[in-house]
Amino acid sequence: MMDLDVQAWVKVAAFAGGGIAMGLGAVGAAIGEGYTAAQANLAVSRNPKISGDIFKNMLVGQAVAESASIFSLVVAILLLFLDKGNPTLLKAAALFGAGLSMGFGAIGSGVGSGFPGGQACLGISRQPAVSNKLTTNMLIGSAVCQTPAIFAMVVALMLLFMDFSNAPLHPTWAALVGAGLSTGLAAIGSGYGGGMAAGASCEGVARQPEAVGNVTTIMLVGQAVAQTPSIFGLLVSFILMFKTFPESMQLQSAMALLSAGLCTGLGGIGPGVGNGMAAEGAVRWVARNVTHAADLMRTMLVGQAVSQSTAIYAMVVSLVLIFVL
């Protein structure tokens, strides 16, 4: 291990990070787009006469779902070919963290964006007259789904381009890897959950086109709340990147920072998915029973708030790990 020079370690980290970024980053979009295509096939079999409209909508929906993995491709190419500047071991940790952030961060948004695409295709086969409304609603919903992947890309780019050369190697290396894990993992749940809400809203618009205003509103509120766990992840990443940690050769100071990133990251997955489920249920039933939209919105928000609590516990444990210990 000691025979390798620093230059080699930086390359090892960059190449491993690039592989992780693109490898994991390809998972979500592929599943999401496959779902969209499957629903499009179903839609064409139900209403073959408008197969052209369905096909067009499928491609637009898939193009949005693709963006998460395009972010991954960009980060992977930067990791492979970017001039590494003056190589330090801390730079190696930052590059590896960038790969982790983008790789994990693209999974949820990729899968989630597929749901509105597929449901909009099915909706067009059912209600060809409102295909414009459906495409618009699909685009709004899947654009919001991309937000967690964009957070992950922001963290990855900051890890790539920020200058950490003045910070002590121990324990800052763990803070940088933790920063990548925090936003990357937390983005999985929020991306997936936001997609569930968006899919239900496309189904709802096709069922009750006149309720489109209420359905889109509750979808956006539900998605916004489902986004919170990934914002917690982003917050912890920023603290880990910007706080200066005193030099310490002890393993425990490094593990506290790595663990802080892991805790908020993993802890965000469940509440993100759960909030999405709650939003899906509310959106689906606002479309069916629009007169009680206010009751449904209230119950959705109360349910989401309770489902959020474990993400807040995870963030508290992370903050204790960073600031108290």
Partner: protein, 82 residues
């Protein structure tokens, strides 16, 4: 860099605390979301019982929360007591 026994024990406790709370947060988050989704469905079907349904939802979620609280307790024990 010499690693001492006490240091590695503390390091493992910190890592364990993060994993405990991180993984422990997944289940309650998903479970409580399912409860909320079904409560919305039930209120959509029968809006007259919205109050009863919201109360049932909250009781169910509180029970589902318990494993998240166990994780929090274990994480805090690992951080401050062990």
């Amino acid at each position: 860099m010499a690693i001492e026994g006490a240091d590695i024990v503390k390091a493992a406790a910190f890592l364990g605390a993060g994993i405990s709370m991180g993984l422990g947060a997944i289940g309650p988050g998903v479970g409580e979301g399912m409860v909320a989704a079904k409560a919305c469905e039930a209120i959509g079907k029968n809006p007259k019982e919205a109050g009863l349904l919201t109360r049932t939802m909250l009781v169910g979620q509180a029970v589902s929360e318990s494993t998240g609280i166990y994780s929090l307790v274990v994480a805090l024990l690992l951080l401050f007591v062990v």
